[in-house]
Symmetry: C2
Subunit: 116 residues, 2 copies
DNA sequence: CTCATCGCTTACAATTTTGTAAGTTCATTC
DNA sequence: GAATGAACTTACAAAATTGTAAGCGATGAG
């Protein structure tokens, strides 16, 4: 759990108040968030589908990242069928609106990523 | 120091190979990097100027972030005068090229940042 | 020569994020 | 009704980042 009294937390909040870009960055920060957003752009998926499509992710971290994306309002969790207990995740309109930003990040990366 | 044998490190590298946007994100991630890039966009500055203009940053973290930005090729450290030992930092062309990305992050943040 | 300032570095601690392994609950399948 | 799979949660550990405090060497001012 995040300690809201820590210098770390206070600095982050202050920064978000002063720099909108920093806020956007914080929403995207997290090992698999970008990957998840890209996957979900293909359409709604279930937990196990995401797990299978991202082999390196663990269930714990997948659950955490999904929860944070949901809290940020970027994705939505819903029942797959009205009766069952199966869920699926999909992008909200806010999540979709991030596409331009991701595209921008991607363009720069394509031009300058030395890892490839 | 980063442990290159850790799962964490390996996951990050793998991701950078698969997702260019993730690479870009990693270059910008760090508490004060965006702030520093924005400040340096105004022109070259010295260590102490940056320190004074970003009150919450500590000398240690300032030094660390500057070093990482330098390693990423986004900024350059040079002697202020040919003889002296005073240095200044400025954006490289690579650093300047990030401006569009930052603008994109900023636009989304302006529209959706609830912190403000 | 002495002192203050600049630009760091070092040692250490707290916080945060990520990873490992196992267990839980509910519903479906056999 | 026992076993299986989905979608988590829990307890714990490792790793990574950030913060606190102090110190240090090289100018530059006085």
């Amino acid at each position: 759990m995040r300690k809201t009294a820590s210098t770390n937390y206070i600095n982050e909040q202050t920064l978000h108040g002063l720099c909108d870009a920093a806020y956007t960055l914080s929403v995207l920060s997290g090992r698999w968030k970008l990957t998840l957003l890209v996957k979900l752009k293909e359409g709604k998926k279930r937990f196990s589908e995401l797990k299978d499509q991202i082999p390196a992710i663990t269930e714990r971290v997948l659950a955490l990242q999904l929860k944070e994306l949901e809290k940020s309002g970027l994705i939505l969790k819903q029942k797959s069928t009205p009766k069952g207990q199966l869920y699926s995740y999909e992008l909200t309109s806010l999540g979709i609106s991030l596409d331009q930003v991701i595209q921008s990040l991607s363009d720069w990366g394509i031009a300058h990523n030395p890892t490839v």
